[in-house]
Symmetry: C2
Subunit: 433 residues, 2 copies
């Protein structure tokens, strides 16, 4: 096709938008050679065109009117980097209906409105890509859709939230508690003023929902994800984990077992020897197991101006290659299945359980008996620290369906011997071949 440039409209010039402009500028010559024609940003939607910016940008490119991009027949490709659900979703849909290809980094919109966006893209014969919505700069969407396309994916275990991984790393290395580390993360800009979506697990839930949908070819919504955050993790839990040979990570987990899909976000013990165990600080990593490829892992920076821009520009180059070849929808939505979800009650795990119990003879027998009565065996038991006049008892169960452990805990809660159930954390990644 003869054209002198691929013309781009950019919605949003915040952190990631600025990064995208930098990458498109700094590596323009190489990108043009890879695509065949140059990429040119025609218009940028901003809230305030007069605002001072670190980026040297031609003021004539800036507009505060979305229509200057969405209704501009010159523009081939829209990059949505506004974030949030509204008006981003409407802008994406409008752009598609106007025949514009769309690239976004918006995990909220993809996780919540994936089906509508894919359907609209297919009907409008445009590409829709969103590599940056999960794992920042780490290639993971495209690897799942292309590089591992021959596999039946069996499981995905990801550290997909940099804020909480930074916090857990600090808690682990320095022994400080959740609140102190949260404050430090906020001061460093790694955690937001309202950290709820990160520490509560919602951000990770959006990302694992997106990955699970692709991996299992079955649409998984955010509401399908079981979610626990890291707010209950204590320095004591982390110390016990180390003693037992584990580290604690906030994991997004998606597995397909016997045709059923389980999708969950929660803190977990993983063995110190697991590839994910040494993923520290703000780094993310996604461990993928497929029937042919076996275990693979994708590691890198899960956020930040330039890493996220790297993923956005990869999508832009991919779409530009399609534009040059005059095709679209080369890789369609692959959610052609509708697999049933497995209830958490049925999900098998080992559990770490920390209890505060009376410090008197027979207590351990009572505790072990409660688990035994529900058919739950114990792998290890530690009883050594005294808290006031009580004993702290830590145990790791065998791998059983969650309901059995929940039942055992209910039995213990009703027993006078147990003062408090301190924490209950699942163990993952133990069956690495």
């Amino acid at each position: 096709m003869n054209r002198d440039a691929i013309k781009i409209g950019l919605l949003g010039l915040g952190t990631v938008g600025t990064g995208v402009m930098r990458v498109l500028h700094d590596n323009a010559a190489d990108i043009a050679r890879k695509v065949g024609v140059p990429l040119r940003v025609e218009k940028i939607l901003v809230r305030d065109a007069a605002k001072a910016r670190t980026l040297a940008v031609d003021k004539s490119l800036l507009t505060t009117k979305a229509a200057d991009i969405l209704a501009n027949p010159e523009i081939d490709l829209v990059i949505e980097l506004m974030g949030g659900e509204h008006p981003a979703k409407d802008y994406i849909l409008t752009a598609m209906k106007q025949g514009k290809h769309v690239v976004t980094a918006n995990k909220d919109v993809v996780a919540k409105h994936g089906k509508e966006l894919f359907d609209t893209a297919a009907a409008s014969r445009v590409d829709f890509q969103f590599e940056a919505s999960v794992g920042g700069g780490i290639p993971i969407i495209r690897p799942l859709k292309q590089c591992l396309a021959g596999n039946k994916i069996q499981e995905i275990i990801g550290i997909v939230n940099g804020t909480t991984n930074y916090m857990l790393t600090k808690m682990s290395q320095e022994g400080c508690d959740f609140h102190a580390v949260l404050q430090e993360a906020q001061e460093k800009g790694y955690a937001e003023a309202d950290p709820t979506a990160d520490v509560g697990g919602l951000d990770a839930a959006r990302k694992i929902a997106i990955l699970a949908s692709i991996a299992f070819s079955s649409r998984i919504g955010v509401d399908d994800v079981y979610v626990e955050g890291i707010t209950q993790i204590t320095p004591g839990d982390i110390a016990y984990a180390r003693e037992l040979g584990y580290v604690i990570k906030l994991l997004g987990i998606a597995k397909e077992v016997d045709g059923q899909v389980e999708v969950r976000v929660h803190p977990a013990f993983i063995p110190q020897t697991h590839p994910l165990a040494s993923v520290n600080d703000v780094f993310n990593a996604i461990f993928v197991k497929g029937d042919a490829v076996g275990e693979t892992m994708f590691y890198g920076r899960g956020a930040g101006e330039l890493p996220t821009a790297s993923a956005v520009v990869a999508d832009v180059i991919d779409v530009a290659r399609d534009i040059v070849h005059n095709i679209s929808s080369r890789i369609l939505c692959t959610c052609f299945n509708n697999k049933p979800l497995r209830s958490m009650e049925e999900v098998p795990s080992s559990f770490y359980v920390r209890l505060i119990a009376l410090d008197k003879p027979g207590v351990l027998a009572t505790i072990a008996g409660a688990f035994g009565s529900q058919g739950v065996g114990l792998q290890s038991v530690i009883q050594k620290r005294k808290v006031d006049c009580n004993a702290e008892v830590v145990l790791v169960t065998d791998k059983v369906a969650e309901k059995h452990v929940r039942n055992a805990l209910r039995v213990l809660e009703a027993d006078d011997v147990v003062r408090e159930i301190g924490n209950v954390i699942r163990v993952e990644g133990g069956n690495l071949s």
Copy 2:
């Protein structure tokens, strides 16, 4: 386009060919949905059609005549899995000239004849893909060509040979020597009867040449790679590495610095905290640093029937998607630069040096003086083990251009105080941000 299937000719039914047949069979329904039409293997070239096989394969598919595939107008896509240079290269070229797309796992052919193959593919308007040629099942070619396409790649450091990684892991964990471990690796089928290409570094050189060519958009041949194998590594070197906080890995390294490219394969000390340090046994991993994405790593099984088949089938699906859209050469050869190579003499590294010297006063001063005379500072010096009546001295130099260390070693070799230069190993990965 209306067609009832994509028709495939398979050249070779050894380990990987068998894996490809299994994956195409086991996951046929999902693959057909992803592509839009089924994939069908029409013919398989084998040496002996009567041979007993573990794979249940329709005998009518087998042929011993290459022309049944290469000259068969029905066949859209040829998968070359014969390995070796001849006749694989000629078959690939013939297939392309007949308008057939080609997928190969053949690193020898790609590393040695890349330009001719790409040129022929472009002239014949067919796709040419080779994901399985590096890293077995690990997605790395496609991530470099697509997912990181917006980046200027700064460095690649890869553990790309599973045989040597298995051997070094065993030597490290069990303290046994090179020859004992080699024998064990041969018994387990991890090393070939003639292990030269693996332990000598040539296999890794082919792979890093392929990766460097893509990363720097400049053709790097195998002959451009500086190569050292692992045959000189002793259990003592491994113990010293551990004492100093490192592990020894055989690395493929490619860097672009100031417009010059350096490409090398050699054993190296890497810090125990580096992501590559915990890549053990037959696993491979490729660490990639780009100007936007920062540090990323791709981890998985670098060989084996099904992992390699995973990569081959990914290419096949990708090509099939192009066939369905009636396009080719969507992603062209990107070797549009011709960057100069940097001589090893000029490459800056820290060096581990192990010397056997006379055990008498002033020896350390002599050794330090020899390095000092060439402007080479020392980071650490260990002198403690006695070998016969001599002292073993181990030191790590500052990071300097290699020629200065070579000059210092020449000074030492001429000095009576030094009995033997035991080993010299470069230190890598020390400047991880």
